[in-house]
């Protein structure tokens, strides 16, 4: 059964590029149908041009950077055992708190990075304006010199075992790496913490400490040196 003009208009209004046999047959059945179809196609062409929004130039590179992050492949047997134990211990211990729940700096660094390290790296974009970096670090009585500040792509406050700290992502020639500054925490200088295919080098600073975190293939040595040289703490009076 052939469709009438009203049905045809609804059909091409819903799907102007429809090329099924019934639509084509209807289209060819009269000049009125053909004109309506041509008009719908012309409108569609304009609509398709109108939605073209250009993504930020760095979007694709940032997305590809995600694949540099290790995937945490879970072994379900230990997880099931852990879950049973946690039920026994109680739900209170399950929550990632912003208080002194960590037994050690090492445990904190591993837990913190597992919590949001990859997600924060995924948000890394252009190098941040110096003012944005200074705004946060000044409140923590710290400062990054030109060289280090010129690498920072993300900075935000974060909880540490003792008060507030800063979570930063820096752009290096080995890809993005993470620095966590802990103003009130002393670490074992030079210690390397390994977790989930990541490694964190701990650095004691004038005030507090920092963890420089990279994935398995990344070498943190040069960034450790830069943090020692370029990250100043306890120097800001203002």
């Amino acid at each position: 059964m052939s469709m009438n003009f009203s049905e045809f208009k609804k059909l091409i209004g819903a799907d102007p590029l429809n090329r099924d046999a019934e639509t084509l047959h209807a289209r060819q059945s009269s000049p009125e149908f053909e004109a309506a179809a041509t008009e719908a196609e012309a409108f569609e062409e304009k609509l398709q041009a109108a939605v073209l929004v250009t993504p930020p130039g760095d979007l694709l590179d940032q997305i590809k950077g995600i694949s540099q992050q290790p995937v945490r492949r879970r072994n379900w047997v230990p997880l099931a055992l852990a879950a049973s134990l946690l039920v026994f211990v109680g739900a209170a211990g399950l929550v990632w708190k912003q208080s002194n729940q960590w037994d050690s700096v090492e445990a904190y660094v591993a837990d913190h990075y597992s919590h949001d390290g990859s997600a924060v790296i995924a948000k890394a974009g252009e190098i941040l304006p110096k003012e944005d970096i200074a705004k946060i670090l000044t409140r923590l009585d710290a400062r990054a010199d030109e060289q280090l500040a010129g690498l920072i792509t993300v900075i935000k406050y974060c909880p540490t075992p003792d008060g507030r700290g800063a979570h930063m992502v820096v752009s290096t020639d080995q890809g993005p790496m993470t620095i966590i500054y802990m103003p009130e925490v002393q670490a074992t200088d030079g210690e390397v913490v390994r977790f989930d295919q990541m490694h964190a080098s701990l650095v004691n600073l004038e005030h507090g400490s920092a963890a420089i975190i990279g994935s398995g293939s990344q070498n943190t040595d040069s960034l450790v040196v830069m943090v020692r040289d370029s990250f100043k703490t306890g120097l800001i009076d203002a």
């Binding site: 609804k10 059909l11 209004g13 819903a14 799907d15 102007p16 409108f43 569609e44 304009k46 609509l47 398709q48 041009a49 109108a50 939605v51 073209l52 929004v53 250009t54 993504p55 930020p56 979007l59 694709l60 940032q62 997305i63 590809k64 995600i66 694949s67 992050q69 995937v71 945490r72 990859s118 997600a119 995924a122 948000k123 974009g125």
Partner: protein
């Protein structure tokens, strides 16, 4: 190691194939460039983690759209972002457009922004991703006939809006 390389290769292919369209879709549904970028990054971050669950590469586009829509729902529930002034967003411009064609395109963009999400969502899935009505039906979980009705009405509303703005000369009030 080979598996990791393959995985990265698969992921990068998805990023190259779909990141632009996902960004466009995100931009038009949330109307905020910063959130759109975040949404697309978060979408791919989740996709990277769950890549092994994607068995059929033909389903990748719908899979990514589903991730993005869920993430948008979560984000939007947490906070309503300020809408971006579209003039500040880089939009692919066709320099060869005549002034009246440019005006028409701007009116169309304004119309898309004004559409209720009930009409905008299926329209964007069709126009940005080239989804068929059946695919939109599956993506949105509504019947194919409902999709066709919404698509038809979306276009009618756009045409009506353009006619209204064109007639009253509202082009200077865009965005």
């Amino acid at each position: 190691m080979t598996n990791d390389t393959d995985r990265t290769h698969r992921f990068n292919e998805l990023a190259e194939a779909y990141s632009t369209d996902l960004y466009r879709y995100a931009m038009w549904i949330c109307r905020n460039d910063a959130l759109a970028k975040d949404l697309v990054q978060e979408t791919f971050l989740r996709a990277w983690r769950a890549l092994d669950s994607l068995k059929d590469v033909k389903a990748a586009k719908s899979w990514l759209i589903t991730i993005l829509r869920r993430e948008y729902a979560r984000t939007f529930e947490r906070k309503v972002p300020p809408f971006t002034d579209l003039e500040k967003v880089t939009i692919e411009d066709n320099d060869e457009l005549k002034p009246d064609e440019r005006t028409e395109r701007d009116l169309l963009r304004k119309g898309i922004l004004k559409l209720d999400s009930k009409y905008r969502d299926p329209l964007l899935l069709q126009v940005v991703f080239g989804h068929s009505c059946a695919e939109i039906s599956e993506q949105l979980g509504i019947s194919k006939s409902a999709v066709m009705t919404q698509l038809f009405r979306a276009r009618e509303k756009l045409k009506a809006q353009m006619q209204k703005d064109g007639v009253t000369g509202n082009v200077h009030e865009l965005f």
